[in-house]
């Protein structure tokens, strides 16, 4: 294992530990979305996925 991979692993671990409390707080305080709210998120994400597939076909 190269030293760069060891540093990457340590940095990722540190970010996970630092972000974990913030993530827990966000889950507690985030409002609940309705099914219509979630559709407003899922549809653009599907469009993005199709767009990325299109880019892959261009390479």
């Amino acid at each position: 294992m190269e030293w760069m991979e060891i540093i990457s692993a340590l940095a990722l671990l540190a970010f996970i530990i630092i972000l974990f409390p913030a993530a827990r707080e966000r889950i507690k305080h985030s409002p609940q979305g309705t099914s219509s709210d979630w559709m407003g998120f899922v549809i653009p994400v599907i469009v993005i996925a199709l767009f990325v597939t299109f880019l892959v076909m261009l390479v």
Partner: protein, 223 residues
């Protein structure tokens, strides 16, 4: 009657403040993106070693998480945003040099850059025109991001190319969600500091660009 006038006046003041935050955010974002492009070109010209990327990303993230919030309400905050984005751009230099050396490298870089621009502008336009409140995504996106970091950590040891591809695809989806969430927060007055708003949106653009580079790089090698 007076109360009605007061409510209308409060609403219009709030709308003006929101527009100001939005305008300042996009102005600072465009300037930082140009600055990043300049530092990335400088780094490519200097032929910096691959470890530059790692050092720049870790340094940039540490400054963004621990230093920027202390100065976000002062003029120094703008300088720190340029420092972070300049560092991240400088770190991109060796990555771009590596992709540029591939047979189809120029095409991969151009498509990633254009693709990132289309995704960001498309999602921003969607959030701005629909004016939907995406604050409900906050917890979901944070958990998703933590899971992606865990998967990336695992893949450092596992070294599975398909997993790397999957992680990049999921990062694009999560960052797309963050663009909707952050833009909606500005529109609805949840984010009133354009310095913090800029760095949030910059990080999403940076992550989408890196992930697209990785996906297109891996897929072009499969031919």
């Amino acid at each position: 009657m007076n109360q009605n006038y007061s409510t209308v006046a409060q609403r219009s003041t709030s709308a003006i403040a929101t527009n100001k935050v939005l305008r300042n955010t996009y102005l600072l974002l465009s300037m930082t993106l140009l600055f990043s492009g300049f530092t990335a070109a400088l780094s490519m010209f200097m032929n910096t070693p691959p470890m530059t990327y790692l050092i720049s990303v870790i340094g940039g993230m540490v400054i963004a998480m621990f230093v920027l919030p202390r100065f976000a309400n002062s003029p120094a905050g703008i300088g720190i945003v340029f420092l972070i984005t300049g560092m991240l751009g400088f770190g991109l230099g060796p990555v771009l040099s590596m992709y540029a050396s591939l047979p189809n490298g120029g095409n991969i870089i151009t498509l990633s850059l254009g693709g990132t621009g289309v995704i960001f502008m498309g999602l921003s336009a969607y959030a701005l025109t629909t004016k939907k409140d995406f604050s409900f995504l906050g917890g979901f996106l944070m958990v998703g991001f933590l899971l992606v970091l865990l998967a990336a950590l695992a893949n450092i040891f596992l070294q599975i190319p398909a997993m790397s591809l999957m992680i990049s695809a999921v990062v694009i989806m999560i960052m797309s969600g963050f663009i909707l969430h952050d833009t909606s927060r500005i529109i609805h007055g949840g984010e009133t500091n354009y310095v913090l708003a800029t760095i949030g949106l910059y990080m999403t653009i940076f992550n989408i660009f890196i992930s697209l580079l990785q996906i297109l790089g891996i897929m072009s090698n499969d031919d």
